[in-house]
Amino acid sequence: MDNTFTPIEARKPPSGAIGPIAWMKASLFSSPVNTILTVFFAYIIIRFVPPIIDWAFISANWVGTTQEECTKSGACWIFIKQWFSQLLYGSYPESLHWRVNLALIGLVAVVVLQFFLPQHLRRRVGWVSLLVYPLISLWLMYGGFGLETVSTDKWGGFSLNILLAFAGILMSLPIGIVWALGRQSEMPFVRVVCISSIELFRGVPLITILFMGSVMLPLFFPAGVQLDKLMRAFIAITLFQSAYMAEVIRGGLQAIPKGQVEAANSLGLGYWKTMRLIVLPQALKISIPNIVNTFIALFKDTTLVLIIGLFEVLSTIQAALQNSNWLGGHHIEGYVFVAFVFWVFCYTMSRISVHIEKKLDTGHSRS
């Protein structure tokens, strides 16, 4: 007798439940309202997407050097091509662009290393690069010590946005930690000081802080001290960002169970040791996704320095549009290009933030 069990072959699902037709029925035409919506959006897409693609790619002008060579009906990408170096580097001397490139590549390298280094090296390399990289990039950008000096009014373009955002986030991290700890402190005076600084800088627009930096700060310093424009913008951005950073870190601190602090206390650790060894490592770790999110916000906000007269990428585009050789109204090309660059950066970073959040989720959160 043959006792082995042979299952009969599973039947295929009914043809109405799988396949493209069934999918369309379920997700596009499930009800009269859905059908109307689908038809409406399909019409919009068919009506507008092909002309946009045609404008941006098919009948766009790619080759040439002057406005007059933009003869086809589509976008005049020659405009972007001609201004590309300005958009990226501002008025930074062309022969020295390699220094900006090196600083930016270093930045990418520092970030990428954090993802690919073996676990035991990450933290050590992270701290070293956090301390050393800013100095190296400052030296590369500004010069001195054997390099030709490039004054800050020559810095500009998209590289300025990137540097301002990174410098802002780096400086705001320690200030934000101090403010966040102060806000949780048991000392009433310290708490009041920290809460009022955080709420002040969080409650007002960045523009007002930038104005404060550009018109009020020079009055605060003794006569003879000259602060350069970039420095003042940087101080303003740092104050603004620190307030947001403090709130993000407070969120992380509040998520740490009280038992952690109590356990540390019962082991005999003092306040600073408890914070440094027990609380902050955990709090900072769970704050990383939100820190990335505030970084995205800051990165977008660096365009605001155009209002106090720094030549970041958006003001470079505005200047290019006013240039007498390019008065043909290339607004859309200019804005679309800058928007695209920002979009790529911000979207990538928000994906990274989601990724880190998933990776950090050690199962403690209960939903």
Binding site: A26, S27, L28, S30, N34, L37, T38, F41, A42, E186, M187, P188, F189, V190, V193, E199, L200, G203, V204, P205, L206, I207, T208, F211, M212, V215, M216, P218, L219, F220, F221, P222, A223, I296, K300, D301, T303, L304, L306, I307, L314, Q318, L321, H331, I332, Y335, V338, A339, F342, W343, C346, Y347, S350
Partner: protein
């Protein structure tokens, strides 16, 4: 007492050195911080006074009553170039409030629509909503304002070839001209009727809730309230003899006369602020709706509630609890972001007061301080209101 624990005399309290006691340490630390801050502010104060004297800048708020001497593009209260700097402050403030108020309404509507669309069962609708959110969230707001102002609105036709909608609404490069209602005499009654309707709604809602709690009978509150809100003013309008006319804008010479014209700066700013904030609100709405557990909806359906009621009594109240706190911060962000108006010349508080007035007067400290305080005050007011609303809709736990 029998089981009194006897503390042995030998177990005295351990002596802690004076400088090691927590309360003493914290006192010393606080005094040090206070002294440091005092020194910091004292130095700043001194330096500022010296610098201002050296540059011949006056101090105090005396400038507020001096004539300003510049005109403002958009004013909600009467203003002439001969009016004082103090009045420019209020003109700018009102313009800030105007653009913030309009944008908050549009951003909320659009944000809820897009947020719900992202969860739609319709694949196409949810994809379009996703693309909307991911596009507008990741592009700097200033760039979007520039785009709408310099690329879209500046490309509109001139005054003579305006886009014409039913001969009463005109869209051209100078703005949007719409008809205006001119209220006749005695029309203030309509306004009072409106207020009476709001008071009526308040009491009717209370009565309906009490009745339902007592008898279990529901009351068609929504329709009754809508009827009151529209009916009472309409009744007043009819009783006063329909004393209102509509003024349609007409092309005369180089511009439109009559009606109401929305300047392009206001339009560009409103569109940009609404769309940008709507993308963030949509995310908050999506998170809120997703936070309501499936079991809730299934339980409601098992009780036999129809879809609309499940939405109204089960999903929305629970989702709102998650939505309101981020909504609050988005509103605050919108108000702060409205200060970007300056970049395209919309005369908001920052542009008028921190721009033009500061340029002429030069009293940076007073003006920057005043502007900052105004934004702080607006945001705190809004925050208080939203917290009150949040407390109202919060889950009442035993």
């Amino acid at each position: 007492m029998a089981n009194d624990t006897v503390i042995p005399k030998t177990q005295t309290k351990q002596k802690v050195a004076f400088y090691n006691r927590a309360e003493n340490r914290s006192m010393v630390f606080q005094v040090l911080v206070a002294a440091g801050l005092a020194y910091f502010f004292y130095t700043i104060y001194n330096n500022t006074l010296t610098n201002m004297e050296a540059r011949g800048i006056r101090t105090g708020f005396g400038f507020m009553s001096q004539p300003a001497g510049f005109d403002i593009l958009l004013k909600l209260i009467p203003y002439e170039a001969t009016d004082s700097y103090g009045r420019t402050f209020f003109v700018g403030l009102l313009n800030t409030l105007l653009v913030s108020f309009i944008s908050i309404i549009f951003a909320t509507l659009l944000g809820f629509l897009v947020g719900v669309s992202r969860l739609s069962a319709n694949w196409l609708v949810s994809k379009v909503a996703t693309i909307f959110v991911e596009t507008f969230r990741n592009i700097p707001l200033l760039l979007q304002i520039f785009f709408w102002y310099f690329a879209v609105l500046a490309a509109l036709p001139g005054v003579r070839s305006s886009l014409n909608f039913a001969d009463s609404v005109f869209l051209n490069v100078r703005g949007l001209s719409v008809p205006r209602i001119i209220w006749g005499e005695g029309s203030s009654i309509i306004f009072y009727a409106f207020i009476a309707a709001i008071i009526g709604i308040f009491f009717l809602s209370r009565w309906a809730r009490k009745r339902q709690e007592a008898t279990g009978q529901p009351f068609a509150l929504l329709w009754a309230n809508l009827g009151l809100l529209i009916g009472l003013p309409l009744l007043a309008f009819l009783l006063t003899g329909m004393n209102a006319t509509i003024e349609v804008p007409k092309l005369q010479g180089f511009g439109f006369q009559g009606g109401m014209t929305l300047i392009p700066e206001l339009m560009a700013l409103t569109v940009a602020l609404s769309v940008y904030t709507a993308a963030f609100i949509a995310e908050a709405v999506r998170a809120g709706v997703q936070s309501v557990s499936h079991g809730q909806v299934e339980a409601a359906a098992a009780l036999g509630l129809p879809n609309a009621k499940v939405l109204r009594f089960v999903t929305i109240p629970q989702a709102l609890r998650v939505i309101v706190p981020p909504l609050n911060s988005q509103y605050q962000n919108l108000i702060k972001n409205s200060s970007l108006a300056m970049a395209i010349g919309y005369p908001d508080l920052v542009a008028v007061f921190m721009g033009s007035t500061l340029n002429q007067v030069g009293q940076a400290v007073e003006i920057v301080f005043m502007t900052m305080m105004v934004y702080l005050a607006i945001n705190l007011t809004l925050s208080t209101f939203m917290n009150w609303y949040n407390a109202r809709i919060k889950l009442v736990e035993r």
